[in-house]
């Protein structure tokens, strides 16, 4: 072959078969790469992290008491600090009552979750829309949900005892459109505190005119929130033989007078602001706007029940649910006696009510 010939040779051809082969190879390669990558890495793995994290967080929530450390004090009764909005002092939120009893504590639950008491038993949810961002961020940290969003409910297992449709609707409204969501369920026993009956033989108050004086401190107001109001009964009255006792008026206030023997207000509740019954029979106040009750108590063993709804507290004492508050209740009575001067505290009548509950947490 002569070099000169090669350089001067102007004959050429187009290798159509070569070009076709190259095109086919390129098309096949692009197709294989796109299909292979989607097979090998179908998802980012984010949803796989949800369930284990949620499972651990809920486990600790129902099986641990929680913990606070304020720098000068520490302990497991973190709920007091949550009430006072010292969120950063609460290192871990747990609903267990104590390590001796494997029950949930309604006081701890009520300190952070919103109660609903439409029927016999209470159900709770958290968070609701009115929760502030700092509170929610601290709750998420202390519950161990870290960067994930969450919503939880604690419901009685017996669905006849609470408003199931309301609970379901609330869950659906918050979680229904969230995409990748996992839910974790735990069953536990709940210790639901309530106030018991007062023994009329040991009432404290004031004579002349006779007043029975009661008080609830702020740490026990969760019972009122859980029940949608304050309910209590008095029986075993002290009265002279032949006399008929009379329940005259009810007064509530957040202060007592200087002597400490009666509430520091002249206002009395009218018939629209409370319910009163005797031996299970509702006693109507006529007219309903009257502040005078006039309920006769003929026998010492007559049981009188009082129910003051939360709406009455909101109207009479708007800041009743403020940390540090003490609420006072005064029942003005006639021909019924009090044992001694002083104040009867509601927490002396605490009773425990245990029932099974289901804790459901949705995480996304």
């Amino acid at each position: 072959m002569r070099t000169f010939y090669l350089l001067r040779d102007e004959k050429a051809n187009i290798s159509m078969d070569f070009l076709t082969a190259v095109a086919v190879i390129i098309i096949a390669f692009v197709f294989a790469v796109s299909v292979l990558s989607s097979i090998i890495t179908p998802y980012s793995g984010y949803s796989k992290e949800l369930y284990p994290t949620a499972d651990r967080a809920v486990t600790l929530l129902v099986e641990d008491e929680g913990y606070f450390d304020s720098g000068y004090d520490e302990g497991t009764d973190w709920e007091s600090f949550w009430y006072q909005e010292n969120y950063s002092d609460i290192k871990k939120i747990g609903f267990r009552e104590n390590m001796d009893y494997n029950t949930l504590c309604s006081k701890k639950i009520s300190s952070i979750m919103t109660p609903h008491d439409e029927k016999n038993q209470t159900w709770w949810e958290y968070p609701i829309s009115s929760i502030s961002n700092p509170e929610l961020d601290n709750a998420s940290r202390a519950m161990g949900f870290d960067r994930f969003n969450f919503y939880m409910q604690i419901r009685p297992v017996d669905e006849n005892n609470f408003n199931v449709s309301s609970a379901n609707q609330n869950a659906k409204d918050i979680v229904g459109d969230k995409g990748d969501v996992v839910s974790v369920v735990r069953y536990s026993m709940l210790n639901h505190n309530s106030f018991g009956d007062f023994d009329g033989a040991y009432l404290l108050g004031k004579d002349g005119p006779t007043k029975a004086l009661f008080a609830i401190e702020y740490e026990d107001l969760y019972v009122v929130r859980n029940r949608g109001g304050l309910s209590f009964s008095i029986s075993n009255w002290t009265m002279d033989e032949g006399d008929t006792g009379v329940i005259q008026n009810i007064q509530i206030d957040d202060e007592v007078n200087k002597k400490g023997d009666s509430v520091d207000t002249l206002d009395m509740l009218d018939g629209t602001e409370f319910n009163i019954s005797i031996n299970g029979v509702l006693f109507p106040i006529v007219p309903s706007s009257s502040i005078s009750i006039g309920l006769d108590v003929p026998n010492s063993n007559d049981k009188v029940n009082f129910f003051i709804p939360i709406e009455t507290f909101n109207g009479a004492i708007p800041d009743w649910d403020t940390p540090g508050k003490t609420l006072y209740f005064q029942i003005n009575i006639k021909n019924l006696e009090v044992a001694d001067p002083g104040v009867t505290w509601f927490n002396t009548t605490f009773i425990d009510e245990y029932y099974p509950v289901k804790t459901t947490v949705w995480v996304w």
């Binding site: 090669l6 050429a12 390669f29 090998i40 980012s44 793995g45 796989k48 641990d64």
Partner: protein, 156 residues
């Protein structure tokens, strides 16, 4: 432009072969590099998912160890973990380097050869008890020892 459109000169066949061969080799090289990149990306993603699974296993064991520790003694759990993930070992440690920006400690798993790191939350257990320690996966076991004051992870 007119000269270009009317130019019917071509290349000699051998020169054309050399040109096409060179272009083909360049194409082949690019395809090989792209394929390796895709496979490597998929491999790293798969390693990350597997590290996260293993991390969740260890974190759950830590939580259970904390809850079952007797008040007057210690608890010891030996956990079986994969010795290798994608043909390479990994390192497990408790770290303050919280990528979730919550301020809690996390479980950090690092693949030794592939430089893949996964972080798994401890769900604030570190607020209740001191958690420390590290281990490699070489033995296929991780030891979790807990008492009333601390939890330690170490080589099993």
């Amino acid at each position: 432009m007119r000269v270009l459109l009317n130019d019917e000169d071509g290349q000699a066949i051998p020169v054309e072969y050399i040109l096409i061969f060179t272009i083909s080799m360049i194409f082949l090289g690019l395809m090989t590099l792209t394929f390796n990149s895709v496979v490597d990306s998929s491999s790293r993603q798969a390693i990350y998912i597997e590290l996260t699974d293993t991390g969740n296993l260890i974190s759950s064991a830590i939580t259970n160890s904390y809850l079952t520790t007797p008040v007057d003694g210690a608890n010891s759990i030996s956990l079986d973990v994969p010795a290798e993930i994608a043909g390479t070992g990994y390192f497990v440690e408790i770290s303050d380097d919280d990528p979730f920006e919550v301020g809690n400690k996390v479980l950090k798993l690092t693949s030794m050869q592939k430089s893949v790191t996964a972080y798994v939350p401890l769900n604030s257990v570190d607020a209740l008890i001191e958690i420390n320690g590290s281990a490699s996966s070489v033995s296929g076991k991780i030891l979790i020892v807990s008492n009333t004051s601390e939890i330690t992870i170490s080589q099993g």
